[in-house]
Symmetry: D2
Subunit: 356 residues, 4 copies
Amino acid sequence: MPGNSFGELFKISTWGESHGEGIGVVVDGCPAGLPLRESEIQKELDRRKTGQSKVTTSRKESDQVRILSGTFKGKTTGTPIALWVENQDVDSSKYEEIKHLFRPGHADYTYLMKYGFRDYRGGGRSSVRESVGRVAAGAIARKLLARQRIKIIGYSKQIGPHIAESLDYKQIEKNIVRCPDKKMAQKMVDHIVQARKKGDSVGGVVEVVAQGVPPGLGEPVFDRLDADLAKALMSIPAVKGVEVGIGFTAAEMYGSECNDPYTVKGKKIAAKTNNAGGIHGGISNGSDIVVRMVVKPTSSINKEQDTVTVDGKQAKIRVEGRHDPCVSPRAVPIAEAMVALTLVDHLMRNKLSQLK
Amino acid sequence: MPGNSFGELFKISTWGESHGEGIGVVVDGCPAGLPLRESEIQKELDRRKTGQSKVTTSRKESDQVRILSGTFKGKTTGTPIALWVENQDVDSSKYEEIKHLFRPGHADYTYLMKYGFRDYRGGGRSSVRESVGRVAAGAIARKLLARQRIKIIGYSKQIGPHIAESLDYKQIEKNIVRCPDKKMAQKMVDHIVQARKKGDSVGGVVEVVAQGVPPGLGEPVFDRLDADLAKALMSIPAVKGVEVGIGFTAAEMYGSECNDPYTVKGKKIAAKTNNAGGIHGGISNGSDIVVRMVVKPTSSINKEQDTVTVDGKQAKIRVEGRHDPCVSPRAVPIAEAMVALTLVDHLMRNKLSQLK
Amino acid sequence: MPGNSFGELFKISTWGESHGEGIGVVVDGCPAGLPLRESEIQKELDRRKTGQSKVTTSRKESDQVRILSGTFKGKTTGTPIALWVENQDVDSSKYEEIKHLFRPGHADYTYLMKYGFRDYRGGGRSSVRESVGRVAAGAIARKLLARQRIKIIGYSKQIGPHIAESLDYKQIEKNIVRCPDKKMAQKMVDHIVQARKKGDSVGGVVEVVAQGVPPGLGEPVFDRLDADLAKALMSIPAVKGVEVGIGFTAAEMYGSECNDPYTVKGKKIAAKTNNAGGIHGGISNGSDIVVRMVVKPTSSINKEQDTVTVDGKQAKIRVEGRHDPCVSPRAVPIAEAMVALTLVDHLMRNKLSQLK
Amino acid sequence: MPGNSFGELFKISTWGESHGEGIGVVVDGCPAGLPLRESEIQKELDRRKTGQSKVTTSRKESDQVRILSGTFKGKTTGTPIALWVENQDVDSSKYEEIKHLFRPGHADYTYLMKYGFRDYRGGGRSSVRESVGRVAAGAIARKLLARQRIKIIGYSKQIGPHIAESLDYKQIEKNIVRCPDKKMAQKMVDHIVQARKKGDSVGGVVEVVAQGVPPGLGEPVFDRLDADLAKALMSIPAVKGVEVGIGFTAAEMYGSECNDPYTVKGKKIAAKTNNAGGIHGGISNGSDIVVRMVVKPTSSINKEQDTVTVDGKQAKIRVEGRHDPCVSPRAVPIAEAMVALTLVDHLMRNKLSQLK
């Protein structure tokens, strides 16, 4: 029940801090018999890694993963899979200087209020570095999904005012902002670079599509698939909103526009349109699952801001150090991981819905 | 683990269907010693009730609640509180006629895919009638919050293209759409009435504000307060998106605009602005909690739509019967209940964060 | 997480008190498509009922069960099944007289310490009457087990010093102590009747055998099948010990006696002996599951005992009223229900152990 | 929900196998602000260690623990505490030779049936080596209990036919079987040594007493303190029975003997006797908590036994290697750890029973 686990049947428990010994995750509930190598997990971690381009932080994390338990002769045994990534290139000196100040937009103040005490080195547990564990566990989830021909595709849908218009999935990993619209990608990059020059940061929207999800996933009335996806994405640092399908545009629509009429394709029943984003009544309907999350601009900025000291005195702060000027590009693999983890959990839960 | 419970320490489990014996909820984890009368629960149920105005369904549900367990001499005993509301004014005949058709936008198809079998009377378990249990349990949660001077205020922020500009909380319960902007309320009513005349329906946005929430609520890294609120709201039927604070507008902001700088008010540390909606790093910061959800237009419309039969044949459907042309006004007390339940749960969880 | 739910996938949540409106249970997680009638549940409740013979209390409870939700056209729908048994023949007057006294052996003092307040009528929630919900839910579990040809058989193994020597299952329901040894049954009855005459009570041992359980049930390392059975049985009021297979006699054995060597029967691998009670390493091995629990003598006795008042003054108490002089016979269906619930839960959990 | 976690609020998740990279545990829910050093955990691990005397296995495990997360400047931060003990002195060669045989009494057959595949090196996950994680986490639990002046004392109550008569706690750690009765300790040692000479093994009973437990712990009706203790102890490998207080002797008692009458000691209400083992109605009553578990003789014996091969052919097996001829002495710190973990969890849960 404490807050560091996610999932009911395919359960992950993450541990570790930004500037501690490392980041780890224990995956409990993975079925026995799945072939699993470290390199498969590494591949996903490499996509999340820092220091990749001019739009990400220059902190260099090699992020080498080790499988410490749960496999034998290259296959999962059904017992807990422990994964560990040691921290490297850790420099806490900058944080010693500002440890008496609350960084605006960060969790410094709230962690202190909650725990009465905090690890101020690099945000400690509240750092986005914690997502290493999610992405590592997500790699296992993706392997399980691939067996069912389910595919997860994530990308930057929007950065600043620039919104992707075309969705050419092949473009995504070809540009440094992970945008499926080649033209717009360049505008996004420019937007980020300009903000960085001013010591500022920008926000964005990440969209994730899951293809091949069978109908039936989701456990009403509370553990609906959309409700669990909303929690999964909103649990990522810096996320301030989540949508499914048409999302907030539904407010201005009429029912006659919004409903997705059914039709027969081949011999299969299917919805003609996908305003619902693949989910009706909290259960997948066989269409693509489409979800979006908005990521706020990075809180760490190299501009002077008002704040207060731990003793309650007015002060100024400028957060130097190595930070992503826009989190969106690196948030893509994290969002994909959370969607993958949610889907695997619901695939397993759905095995129990009917007799035989 | 099955999906009909919500909350970890203040846990509710709902049961019942639209056209069955009734709707019930078991509240487990309510501390002993809380004064509780049926009339206090009834008050909230009456706000959710149907048949209240020209913008709601004409189904007349008296929705009388009974406390079946968990209290003694007017106080809670610390044991499970069972609440029951018998169904009345049930008319299933309309559903017999269309039981072989999947209503577009509804959960008919997905429930059948999931369970291989479904109660087609009034949507069965997928009906918004299930929310009776949530609102009843929410009334107990609100009593607990009131003891901590925490107040929950919900309202229609938007209906169709009409967005509330002023927030005069006293107006909310004075108009039938629960809008805090008197002028806009009238436009919202007109919008709904016009859609209804055409047999159509409209969507809207509900906003909920929680005042007086102390800093410290939320359990990183997965059970963040915002993540749990997102799940709570997204679990309400017809909701397609959830935002906290600035929400999706964060995509177009700069960090220097978006961060909430700290200041000292009186002798207390507080954020100057509230773009974060009262939550940093998944933990409440002492500012008002501000969340929003979008409700899609009611799926049941009195217009001909394409669909298919259970046997996979193309067909037409027109959903007659008594339906809300816009769910927003009645969704307000449901959203408030879900926010209240989430906050009580996190208040209890936070008691355990520190030694002593 | 509050304590009134049992099971992970087939989850029951009970509510209600001895002298309140009734006893209820919500079963969440029952697969869709199971035929279910009230009469099938009633049959099990009738076995638990009071007023059946000279060795049970004379309180007359008709214990009529109603299914309030979760079925449609005689089949489960996959949604929560709510069951309700109204209380009848309730007489709280005797409890008003002793409400200021702590009954020795009962939970009066501990409930007051825990909750600061208690429903003193008939023990409130701590009454064995609460087991109505367990037996009702257990009847559904037994139906699911029967589909897998798993059979649960319970009986009084010991009452006072009298231990059943022969195990003739056909005898069990033919005598009022539910003993499989006809001769010993009579001695047990005499033992109880004699104690009752003196205003005293006696203890006993209930044994439950589960036949036809496939190998593979149990989730190491904590949710072992034996660990969950131990919890299930120890959660029944008045139980002070639980054993699996040889149980405490293992202390005096040698490994060469205790190990169950494997052999081949037909073409199946099987253990030659069953000292393990069907469980190795927390996982069922295909042999019969054999568990036992000891039930202490009923705490309510019509003899003067020392106690103290709620205000901490020394006092005497004699607990009049209608009580079972020995709980064992009526504990048999309760123990069976708890074993059945545990097995169904683990059958469902085990579906997820391997890929495909 | 998968089976490798224990506890609701103070939750531990263990991972690792006998002959893998090591054994780890993640403790989630430990309150912030607890001073914690590796040496404090090491102290408990050293008590569990092998190679200590002629009655334990000769496998030499140094079992050095590392704290990988969750502390800062010597105090817990409220975030997950990851502990890791690397495996050393691992020799899997003996297991390669018998990998095609099911060792009688072990979990070889059941793990294969459950997972379709197993790590046969040293029992893999089913090895008692897994208890390293329990004892490490238990050391933290004990620190929390010590702050409430709660003390946990465990010892060998019985080995073979030899039962401790006197309970002189100072003797416990002075003899190699951890028996509080000096004279009996010698008989127990002789009994074990003789069995070892014959290549055989013996069983025993471990008793654990918790002093200073306040009244109020336990969450009826399922998460009773005794029920959770029963599960905790029964989840330890080789345990076949659990008792609270008088345990199975209750079957032969009368209510007038068994009830614990109340009296006033000083100004406090207390039970005169402690047949209940400190628990009434599933809630602690302020008396010492007294629980017992029986440990079967070690399954690995150096005698020829019947078994079958993985392919279902009759065979003989003799399990050579380094094994404890009696698990009881080393099971003492494991049992203590499980009791400590259960009590801390219930101390935290009980904070929520009453308003304020």
